[in-house]
């Protein structure tokens, strides 16, 4: 298939951001759905392992749209990686590049650094912390906060919700702390 080159290039923020913003009216118009993704994790829990936990005792089938939505995201990832793949490695700030070089990170071809996120590294302390502990914090934290970047930072802020502003500020504060003061120690392991 002949796909123009500009389409395969990384999309600038002023293209991607507004398109993401349009997800909100799209889902509302399609069926009164509010944009949010972390809830899919809850629905999966409710569907697979409810185990008498009240938090998972609800009719998850009514929220099934969310699971189709994330299945679509997965398919979108496949499509983007096959048909629309950018042949060049991600271009990042040279300061970050030199910092990461100290930790032996040189592979910029994937969305995640190949040196850190692979099946082999899962069994090292560093890989375990990033993949397993990190994943746990994402799943636990998003539900505790009542939403993630999509549900709070994008949908919640679009509806001018104060709790979403607090949550978004907390995401950023938490990420800022770990990326600058904790992650360097993990990457040194």
């Amino acid at each position: 298939m002949n796909i123009p080159d500009w389409f395969k290039q990384p999309w600038p923020w002023y293209v991607a951001g507004p398109l993401i913003g349009l997800m909100i009216p799209a889902l509302l118009l399609l069926g009164n759905k509010t944009f949010g993704i972390s809830s899919s994790l809850r629905h999966i829990c409710a569907a697979c392992i409810p185990r008498k936990v009240p938090f998972f005792q609800y009719d998850w089938k009514k929220e099934m749209w969310n699971l189709f939505f994330v299945a679509g995201i997965l398919a979108g990832g496949i499509l983007a990686a096959t048909l629309l793949q950018n042949p060049h490695p991600v271009a990042i700030n040279p300061r970050l590049e030199s910092e990461l070089l100290q930790y032996g990170i040189r592979d910029y071809n994937g969305l995640v650094p190949g040196e850190l996120f692979n099946w082999h590294s899962l069994f090292s302390i560093k890989g375990f912390l990033l993949i397993v502990a990190g994943g746990f914090l994402v799943g636990f934290g998003t539900r505790y906060a009542g939403g993630c970047t999509s549900g709070h930072a994008i949908m919640g802020l679009s509806n001018l919700q104060f709790p979403s502003l607090v949550a978004t500020a907390s995401f950023m504060a938490g990420g800022f702390l770990v990326a600058n003061f904790v992650l360097p120690y993990i990457l040194k392991l």
């Binding site: 069926g31 759905k33 969305l111 990033l130 993630c148």
Partner: protein, 174 residues
């Protein structure tokens, strides 16, 4: 739940059968009253597909871009989130102003979110995880799609994290 007026079209907003738990959530409150067969949900594959492509092509699900964002080394992520919110605010405002209905003719309604301490504690915890994995829940699905199979582990553990939260929920400060 006093904020919800009894005049709302959707019965579930006034009856609040399951609102106490759901009110803390990002979604779940805006369900349809129409009883459609399950395959009506198939249409949500399309916005999902588009969203997945946007996430990959804009590199917002790149671990490197997330590191740049948290080190304030690039405007990219802030630009994406900021412009998405601007478009979102305008869209929501237009929908409210013109009382736009869904494609099935139902009124579109919004439920105010109630603040609780989980927004802060959970938000911080998620922020820690975001900086480590370089992904929030949506990107996990997209990253797996691009062939990073190891992220399946991250996703399964994130589901486990959600489950653990649900299990200990009553004992956590909210």
């Amino acid at each position: 739940m006093d904020k919800i007026s009894p005049k709302k079209h959707h019965r579930f907003l006034t009856e609040n059968t399951d609102f106490e738990t759901r009110s803390l959530d990002a979604v779940c409150v805006n369900e349809s009253e129409l009883n459609h067969p399950w395959w009506y949900n198939l249409k949500y594959l399309f916005p999902g597909l588009l969203f997945g492509i946007i996430l990959v092509k804009s590199e917002v699900i790149s671990w490197f871009r997330i590191q740049e964002m948290f080190r304030l080394q690039s405007f990219h992520m802030f630009g994406v989130i900021g412009s998405a919110v601007v478009v979102g605010i305008i869209s929501v405002w237009l929908i409210k102003k013109f009382k736009v209905k869904t494609i099935y003719g139902e009124p579109i309604e919004f439920v105010p979110k109630k603040f609780n301490k989980g927004n802060v504690y959970g938000g911080l915890v998620f922020g820690f995880g975001w900086a480590m994995t370089g992904a929030c829940p949506g990107p996990l699905f997209a990253q797996i799609g691009t062939g990073a199979t190891i992220i399946i582990v991250t996703l399964l553990i994130a589901i486990a994290g959600t489950w653990v939260y649900g299990y200990f929920r009553e004992r956590l400060p909210h």
